[in-house]
Symmetry: C2
Subunit: 343 residues, 2 copies
Amino acid sequence: MSHSLDAPLPPENITLEVVAKVAGVSPATVSRILNGSARVSDRKRSAVMAAIKTLNYRPNALARGLAQGRTNSIGVLTQDIASPFYGEALRGVEDALAGTGMIPLFASGHWRLEDEIERMEHLLSRRVDGVIVLTGKLSDAQIEAYAKVVPIVVTGRHMQSEQVTSLSIDNSLGAYIATRHLIEYGHTRIAHVAGPADHIDALSRLKGYRDALVEAGIAFDPELVAHADFHEPGGVLAIHQLLATRKTFSAVFAANDQTAFGIQLALSRHGIRVPDEISVVGFDDLPVSSYMIPPLTTIRQPVYEMGVASAKALVAMITGQPYTPQLAPPELIVRASSKLLRR
Amino acid sequence: MSHSLDAPLPPENITLEVVAKVAGVSPATVSRILNGSARVSDRKRSAVMAAIKTLNYRPNALARGLAQGRTNSIGVLTQDIASPFYGEALRGVEDALAGTGMIPLFASGHWRLEDEIERMEHLLSRRVDGVIVLTGKLSDAQIEAYAKVVPIVVTGRHMQSEQVTSLSIDNSLGAYIATRHLIEYGHTRIAHVAGPADHIDALSRLKGYRDALVEAGIAFDPELVAHADFHEPGGVLAIHQLLATRKTFSAVFAANDQTAFGIQLALSRHGIRVPDEISVVGFDDLPVSSYMIPPLTTIRQPVYEMGVASAKALVAMITGQPYTPQLAPPELIVRASSKLLRR
DNA sequence: ATGAAAGCGCTAACAT
DNA sequence: ATGTTAGCGCTTTCAT
């Protein structure tokens, strides 16, 4: 009648209850041990540990999350999982979370508002304990709305409230420093290949460029500004555009490194030598930038650190601890692509 | 006694039950609508949809997963979330999953066995429906063991069983093609900067290089092989090493593009022109490779496609459908870093 | 210090 | 076509 030897039981799921049974204790006790939520006698503890080991028990994070009302996971809304730039931030988040028992869930918004919303909803459906939003197209109001549901850390803008911490790199300052560097090198005809006109970072960098010029008494010339898309091909196109204007310039400040790569290649194709004829300065300091030929002078942003700080800030918000993220200012990295203008 | 106006209710969690109540139907009906698991009258359906809308209801994925025994999520065990190479694969996975309702959980093993195991356990704890393992250090036996728990797709090796699908790029062939290209260009003194000696891909590429030489009747010279680490600085070091041997060579085949970047820079620092004096060929075709100066001749691997195929294969395994992943062979991309040897 | 029992939000038989 | 009921695997009062 009951189970016999020749009718093997179905491979039973190893649950906490099974562990309890094997260890001869109640489920509650096992739970207490797993969570360290109460004192348990050493005898029972070791019995339970042994059972866990031999049964190869893996706690079910879903059940745990359901019961506790928290999942020990945080959402990270990025734009492109393969971005050389944001990749560093993701790594920072991951590293900062290591050892905290929290796990990051990465989702990509592809710079499309609708995608961002969809991913956000997905993350919330999974009941993440918090979300890090790496720039993107969500409006401040939308962020605020989501913040009613979970604590949020957002980069690339300024907003502060009970449930929102923002963290940003001073793009404008970085661009100012880059332009200033070229000016100090004697350049006065400095072109700028900007990013997309609807991108907040691009706009800030354009502003920094402009500020530095004005400060140095150099007139801002709109014809020396070309807009690109933050990617290499855009840099190539922009140079074509700039050269076509027949305006002269001895230096180019690119809105980011990828754009600078395109610029360097396009110049080289035109037989224009960098830095001898034209100096190039980028922005970001991607890992490969120091391996370009010539190695790229650029503005180093603490992206990795930004990832770390975001994660720490979010965890602090979740656990209710105080934490004020601090970010180093952008820093000029002088390499071989920029050069003193010979008179 | 009961709740009064001046004692506002705690902000009630909007659950499926609440939706049901508001719509005047049973929870089961709401569930059926959400899952399309049975026909529901149009009247009730619209009532429910309305309630969902006004309440801004978000299904709890945890509860759903617990009840269904599946989470609609798959684990992706990569090595480095910011790797320019694997990044493309991650993107492929993400794209392939878009629209299937499945979400990828990315975890990094950092090329450390212990980390890989820890991340794997974490993913299993979260009850992912399957796992994609992008190379890494787990042994075949370990993969098999995990495959007892969830279906697995693994790249970079050959193993096949009920619960394991493997998918790999023919590294050896790619290296053969690269070397063959140099030979056809008249080179006979071809150096190779290999990857780590404990890396399966590095070994296969070394083999392909060797095979091509032997086939062409060129003696394999161990002194023309330097080992590096798949990263840029390793390429720089390797060139120093190679030049120090005082052996002559007119071409270098690098085990990957990042190594080739280091090589190009090191050569340029030594005043050796690429490709006039030395031709360089890489492996991977990273997005930036076509923007190096000179643009890098390399072997294009279908990494993105590999990500797509992995995801499709895994989903097929999970849903019990048949699917045999097909991967394009590696392809030679001739750019400016390699050149016909002048006699 | 430990156990019993209720409940987290959902789905899946089983009824009707 | 729809409602009722019993879990999914865990945590957490509440007892003892």
